[in-house]
Structure formats: structure tokens, C-alpha cells
């Protein structure tokens, strides 16, 4: 057990820390509101920063040089992420493309056109989104109904996607469609990539309960794409879904958002019966419980790194970490509102303590427990894949997709 950097890791950390300090983009012109994800100003800074990183070889550290990466280790990449977080530079616009979709694309497609998609993605010039979920295919991710029908050398796609993060600003998407409704649901799926400007693709932003727009609906009407944009085999879409999700789990580790430090800083500013909220024994007990979970999230990411550095597949800590940090986000934002008492009601960034960050988080947190696999799905994964408990009774397992009962 060793939680310290090796001499090489320490040297790398020192190097990237200095580099980040010298090259970090200026965010001082942005208001607190503009600094929130998915705001125009925030996104502009993120793109600029991604290009600066790409020029210096930090755009996609662990990728092969042939694809524009630096062939660094997973540890290097994690150290760089930690140092970015330390400098307050955490942007999620490129994660879906660089860490989930494009690795899966390159695993299945080695052609020139697919390769040409990589460099602009690494520079942050092109953004990718995932077009997997549908109105009746959320946790049941193989329940996709959007249909792709072969027409000569092309495919014609009709259907609807939903909960697509960043689709409103994306240039490309990776899409799962049903190519055969006469076989059981997992077997009739196929993956494609497409330009979001293809005729027939319509993005409609979803206003979330926090008031932000990260998620979208995407309507597909007679969208025609060539067979060369197919990813993997016809009927091999489920495999592609699985490899992107595996990449997602491996990409967890550096978690953004408010933490125990921020909560303590807030508590020290808020009056209580005696002194500040920080002096309240009930708050202190709560803080101890929060801290052990926060430490677990931090330390479990080290376990992922240990696995990666030994060349073995990361274990179940991805699901454990996801459950913990999303629950923590809700727990700490709710607690912060409590100690603010009446002041917890105020979410105006101009007058609320810490620019209303906790109120904003409070309204965002329910989505964190849903996106990227719900609490319930994470628990199923742990129960079935780790503890070896039986899968649920599946009434749709060996039934042709078109015969599966459906609600509204």
C-alpha cells in the first residue's frame, strides 16, 4: 500500500503543474454564472484550453501517437487531470468523445475517414455526443426502437433519441439503431457515426429542473448515411455500447464539483447557535461521514490506476465510485442549504454565499443519480457482477424485439 507518487510520477506532476500554471486560460472576464458548464463563455474557454493542451501533447495523453496522443501512461493522464482540477480547470465537453466514443470507434473502424475524425476532436475543434438513450430505452439500454433500414449502399434512419448531453453544441454523434426487429433485442442493434448537420437530424434542447441546458432530444427523420459510417458489424451494436460504457467507467476518477473543503469553508461563514455552523456538533458529525465517502472516492480512483498500471481491467470501483459521488453531491448540497437556514432559499449568484454554488448543485444533483447509469443500475451491477447474485427474471430475453410488450 502506497499512496505516494513514484519519483517519475512526482517529476511528471511537477512538470505539468508548472506547464498548467504558465498556460492556463484566463477566466477572469467571466461572471460566476458564465463560469458554469454549458454557458457560452465557459465553453469558449474550454475549447481554447483544449487546443493549447493539444499543441503541447496534453490533449489526449494516453492515446497512441499515430492518433495524435502522447503515448503517456494512464497514471500520467490521471496526474494531469488532478493538476487541472487543482487549477480549477475541469471541462467535460470533450470527455464523451475522447474517452468513450472515439476509442470504441477506433476499436471497430480502422479506415482513413474514421482516423481523420480524431485530430479535430483532440484539438477541441469538434465535439462528439452519444445518441444511445430513447424515450422507452433508458436503463433498458438495449430497448432501442430507432430503426435503420438498408437502402442500396446507404442506411435510412428514423426515430428519436433523448438525454443526449451536449448534442446542442456537438458536431458528430455516435448512434445506436435497430437493424433487425425480428431477433431478440440485444442482437438486432447496429452502431453508426454521423455528422449532426446531416439532413433530418433535429436537436431540441431540454430545459432541466436546474434551469440549465445540457441535455437534448434528437429527432431523426429519414436520415440517410452511407454504410461506411457503420461502426462494427451489422447486429454488433450491443458490443459497441458495452465498449463505450467500459471506457466510461475507466474514465471516472477525477470528480468535479463541490467537496468537503467547500462545505467547511461555507460552514465557517455561517452563524449558528454558538459561533458558526462549523462549531455545531451535529454538523461536525455529518462532516465526518461525508469525509469518509469523499476519501473513498479519491482512494478508489487510485485503485483504478493501480489496475491500469498493472495492465489488468479495473474492477467494480467504477460503479461504487459513481454511486458514492452522486449521492455525496446531493447530500452535501442539501446539508449546505440546511446550515444556511433561511439563507438557503436564496440562489441569486449576486447575493448568495459562494455565488449560490450550493443552491445550483442542489437543483442539479438529482440528475447526477440518474445520468451515466442510475443508482439502481449500479446496484444491479454490483449485486450481479461482483456478488454473483442471479439476474432479474427477464421476460423479454428470448423474444423477437417486435413481440416485446410495451407501455405508452
Amino acid at each position: 500500500m502506497n499512496f505516494e507518487d513514484s519519483p517519475e510520477e512526482a517529476a511528471y506532476r511537477q512538470k505539468v503543474r508548472a506547464w498548467i500554471a504558465a498556460n492556463a486560460p484566463d477566466m477572469s472576464h467571466l461572471t460566476p454564472e458564465e463560469r458554469r458548464p454549458w454557458q457560452e463563455g465557459h465553453k469558449e474557454v474550454a475549447s481554447k484550453w483544449q487546443a493549447i493542451k493539444a499543441d503541447a501533447g496534453y490533449g489526449c495523453i494516453s492515446w497512441p501517437k499515430a492518433w495524435g496522443g502522447a503515448e503517456g501512461t494512464a497514471i500520467d493522464e490521471a496526474i494531469f487531470n488532478q493538476e487541472e482540477a487543482r487549477a480549477g480547470l475541469q471541462f467535460n465537453y470533450f470527455t464523451t468523445g475522447l474517452h468513450m466514443l472515439l476509442p470504441a470507434l477506433l476499436e471497430h473502424n480502422k479506415d482513413e475517414v474514421s482516423l481523420s475524425l480524431i485530430p479535430p476532436a483532440i484539438r477541441g475543434d469538434k465535439i462528439w455526443c452519444q445518441l444511445f438513450s430513447e424515450p422507452s430505452s433508458g436503463s433498458d439500454s438495449a430497448g432501442v426502437r430507432s430503426a435503420a433500414v438498408k437502402d442500396g449502399d446507404d442506411w435510412v434512419i428514423n426515430g428519436q433519441k433523448v438525454w443526449n448531453s451536449g448534442a446542442q453544441i456537438s458536431d458528430y454523434g455516435m448512434l445506436i439503431a435497430r437493424t433487425d426487429p425480428d431477433v431478440p433485442k440485444h442482437k438486432g442493434l447496429t452502431a453508426f457515426w454521423l455528422d449532426m448537420k446531416t439532413p433530418g437530424v433535429e436537436v431540441r434542447p431540454i430545459k432541466m429542473m436546474s434551469g440549465d441546458n445540457e441535455l437534448n432530444e434528437v429527432f431523426l427523420t429519414d436520415v440517410r448515411i452511407p454504410d461506411s459510417q457503420r461502426v462494427g458489424e451489422v447486429g454488433g451494436g450491443w458490443k459497441v455500447i458495452i465498449s463505450t460504457l467500459m471506457n466510461e467507467r475507466a474514465a471516472f476518477g477525477s470528480v468535479s464539483g463541490l467537496n468537503w473543503r467547500d462545505t467547511m469553508k461555507l460552514a465557517k461563514q455561517v452563524a449558528s447557535w454558538e459561533g458558526t455552523a462549523m462549531d455545531d456538533p451535529a454538523f461536525r458529525e455529518w462532516l465526518a461521514d461525508l469525509y469518509i465517502d469523499a476519501e473513498a472516492v479519491r482512494l478508489l480512483s487510485f485503485r483504478t490506476l493501480t489496475s491500469l498500471s498493472k495492465g489488468t481491467a479495473p474492477g467494480p470501483e467504477g460503479s461504487v465510485g459513481k454511486l458514492l459521488w452522486s449521492g455525496m453531491a446531493q447530500n452535501l448540497s442539501s446539508q449546505a442549504l440546511d446550515i444556511l437556514d433561511h439563507g438557503g432559499l436564496i440562489d441569486d449568484p449576486a447575493s448568495a454565499l459562494m455565488n449560490g454554488a450550493f443552491q445550483h448543485r442542489f437543483l442539479w444533483a438529482p440528475g447526477l443519480r440518474l445520468g451515466g447509469g442510475t443508482d439502481e443500475i449500479m446496484k444491479n451491477i454490483i449485486a450481479e457482477r461482483v456478488l454473483g447474485l442471479p439476474g432479474d427474471v427477464r421476460v423479454d430475453k428470448n423474444v423477437p424485439f417486435r413481440d416485446i410488450p410495451r407501455g405508452r
Binding site: M264, A288, I292, A296, K379, L389
Partner: protein
């Protein structure tokens, strides 16, 4: 960076598990449960002594094997898993650590080799009854080298030959070494919620007491000793919590209701997934504690409090949900579930309750945040 035991440590842990599977099945704990006056299993204890476990982390200069603390953590995890009824924690995590933290060179030379060889069994006697242990609450007193007062409960107080006792001295509370077999000491059996870890009420009446560490620094020294013990005990808790979860999992696979395995219902699956998550939180914090202990890192006090709070919560959840998963049979004397339930609470109280440790954790977090702000992070 290595979030794991090394290969050598894993081999040691595997050997320890095989050894305890052979000589510390739950029937051994049951034997002590049925004869609580024993307080421990002397045959099992003799086997552990024979294996040299007592000296595992004690430096070679003091007659130990000097293997290191991560190795001791590995042994602790296996002892916890086996719910072994032995006085190992009292003698090794507490008594030996108290000598290492506070003892003079002479005291260490005189006593540690005896602890390492298993010839001497030690414990600590701090509590004087219900409520949080504070400086002012200590009534036991040493005057002219003679100790008077009552300590209760003292885990392993019946079998130990020496104790480190917290008592008031001329300059405040201090730690004192007392020979429990000597004059002025009367001990009586005390019934507790975990009879597999025996305890005593000890009355001192002018018992000879020798100062251990600086006079008047008892609470501070005790806190340092407890930090070290907290990490080792966290591994016992982790081992027990893992096994309680495995028991529940195994039962959920073999028990059928409404025509299928109860483990196929999400009510059970999600419950056990919650237990797994808590165990992982405990493991992460315990591993970090093991690293801090083995490298004597400045993070030790914070890591120790976090390990203790996390491991106490995990064992509690795992042990109660193990009973719940078993249903009625889990509530019987005959079933093994209550060993874990009893031990979980014994371990959570024996160094001070989680409530107390959450308070220590918050204090230490404040220090850490202040230090970070001073560094400009």
C-alpha cells in the same frame, strides 16, 4: 502508487487465512460464548503465539520479527474475518503500541520481548464506566507510585498480566504500567455483549504503578496509541464485515421463496450492494490508514479517525443486514450471525464510540484545512 497488498503480503495473508480456517472455525468462538468465564480460547491463543504472530510488527531490537504494519494489518484482517476469540488486539495493538509510543528505552527492552514471545499478555485500562472518556472524568489516582480506583470495562482484564492504566498524577492524567498479578489488584468477571472478547472490572487499591511516558500527558499519549490501534482494528472490522456480507450472499443464493432464490429479488440485491459499497468505503479508508501507519505519515491521525469511522459503520451495516437476510433463523442462538453482530459492536466501542471518533475526525479536518490554506492551496 499501489492500492493493494504486495505479493508477499498477499501470500502472508493467504497463509494466515488457511491457518485460521484450520484452528479458528466459528465453533471455537462458540465454545467461548458457551463458557464466557474463559474470555478467550487458550488453545487458539497458544497456536498464534507459536506462529510468532505477537511479534510480527515489533522491531527486531525488541525481540519481534519487525515485519511492518501492513503485514500486521493483513493478520488483523484475517483475525477479524475468523471472529477469533483471542486477546491479540489488547496485547499487540494497544499494550505493545503504548510501550512503543510512550515507553522509555528501559521499559521497551524489559517488556516488548516478552510481549513478542507471547510470554506476557498486556492490555489497557482506561474507561471508568458509562459516558465519554475525558480528562476530568478520570478518577483513578496515583499517589507516591500507588494506584487506586476502578477501571471498567477492561477488555482481556482477566487474562492480562500487565496493564497500561490511565490515572491522575501530580501533574494531571498520565499513563502508568501496573502488574495485574501483583498486590492491590482485584479483578472480577464482567458480562458483556460480546463474550468472545472477555472483560473484567478491576479495582486498584494501592497497586504499585510505574509512569509510562511523560507525566500529565496521558490523554495525548493515549490518543496517539489509539490512532494506531484504530487502524489495526479497522482491519479486523473490515475482515468481519466482508465475511458477514459473504454469509448473507451465500444464504441468498441457497434460500428459495416464492419459487426463486431470494438473492434474485432486488430488495435483497440492492441491500447487499449497499453493504458492499460501505465495505469498499471502509477498505479504502483502512488501506490509506495502513499506508499512513507503515510510513509514519503526518496524515496518520486524520487517516486513523477516517478508517475507524468507516470500518465501524461498515461492520454494523453488514452484521445487521446479514441477520435480516437470513430471516428468523438468523436471530437464533444456534445460527452464527450473532457472532458478527456482537463483535461489530464490541470493536466499535472498545476504543471509544464512533461518535467520539467523528468528533476527532472533524477536529483533524479543521487542522488540515487550516494547513492547506496556510500553504496557499
Amino acid at each position: 502508487m499501489n492500492f493493494d497488498y504486495t505479493d508477499d503480503q498477499k501470500a502472508l495473508k493467504d497463509e494466515a487465512r488457511k491457518f485460521l480456517t484450520g484452528c479458528s472455525p466459528l465453533t471455537v468462538a462458540r465454545g467461548v460464548l458457551e463458557n464466557p468465564a474463559e474470555g478467550h480460547d487458550p488453545v487458539l491463543w497458544a497456536r498464534l503465539v507459536e506462529q510468532g504472530w505477537c511479534g510480527a510488527a515489533i522491531p527486531e531490537t525488541y525481540g519481534g520479527l519487525g515485519m511492518g504494519y501492513v503485514e500486521l494489518c493483513a493478520l488483523a484482517e484475517e483475525l477479524g474475518r475468523a471472529v477469533s476469540p483471542v486477546p491479540f488486539a489488547s496485547s499487540i495493538y494497544l499494550f505493545a503500541e503504548a510501550l512503543l509510543v510512550a515507553g522509555s528505552e528501559e521499559q521497551k527492552q524489559a517488556l516488548l520481548p516478552l510481549v513478542a514471545s507471547g510470554e506476557l499478555l498486556g492490555t489497557v485500562a482506561v474507561s471508568e464506566g458509562p459516558g465519554v472518556l475525558t480528562d476530568q472524568a478520570v478518577a483513578a489516582q496515583v499517589i507516591d507510585g500507588k494506584l487506586s480506583g476502578v477501571k471498567v470495562p477492561v477488555t482481556d482484564g482477566l487474562v492480562a498480566q500487565r496493564a497500561v492504566v490511565l490515572a491522575q498524577g501530580a501533574s494531571g492524567a498520565g499513563l502508568y504500567l501496573v502488574d495485574l498479578t501483583g498486590p492491590g489488584v482485584s479483578r472480577e468477571f464482567l458480562s458483556t455483549i460480546d463474550p468472545t472478547r472477555g472483560a473484567a472490572r478491576i479495582a486498584f487499591d494501592g497497586a504499585p504503578a510505574e509512569l509510562l511516558g511523560e507525566a500529565g500527558k496521558g490523554m495525548e499519549l493515549l490518543s496517539r496509541v489509539q490512532d494506531r490501534a484504530a487502524i489495526l482494528i479497522a482491519f479486523e472490522q473490515l475482515g468481519g464485515a466482508d465475511r458477514a456480507l459473504e454469509m448473507a450472499r451465500d444464504y441468498a443464493l441457497e434460500r428459495f421463496a416464492f419459487g426463486r432464490q431470494i438473492g434474485s429479488y432486488q430488495a435483497i440485491k440492492h441491500k447487499l450492494a449497499d453493504v458492499f459499497v460501505k465495505n469498499e468505503v471502509a477498505r479504502a479508508n483502512a488501506y490509506y490508514g495502513a499506508w499512513a501507519l507503515s510510513s509514519d505519515a503526518p496524515e496518520l491521525p486524520l487517516a486513523a479517525a477516517a478508517a475507524r469511522v468507516a470500518a465501524s459503520a461498515a461492520y454494523w451495516l453488514a452484521s445487521k443486514e446479514n441477520i435480516q437476510t437470513h430471516g428468523g433463523i438468523g436471530f437464533t442462538w444456534e445460527a452464527d450471525c450473532h457472532f458478527f453482530f456482537r463483535r461489530a459492536r464490541h470493536l466499535a466501542l472498545v476504543l471509544g464510540a464512533p461518535r467520539d471518533w467523528k468528533r476527532r475526525l472533524a477536529d483533524r479536518l479543521e487542522l488540515r484545512l487550516a494547513a492547506e490554506l496556510a500553504e496557499g492551496n
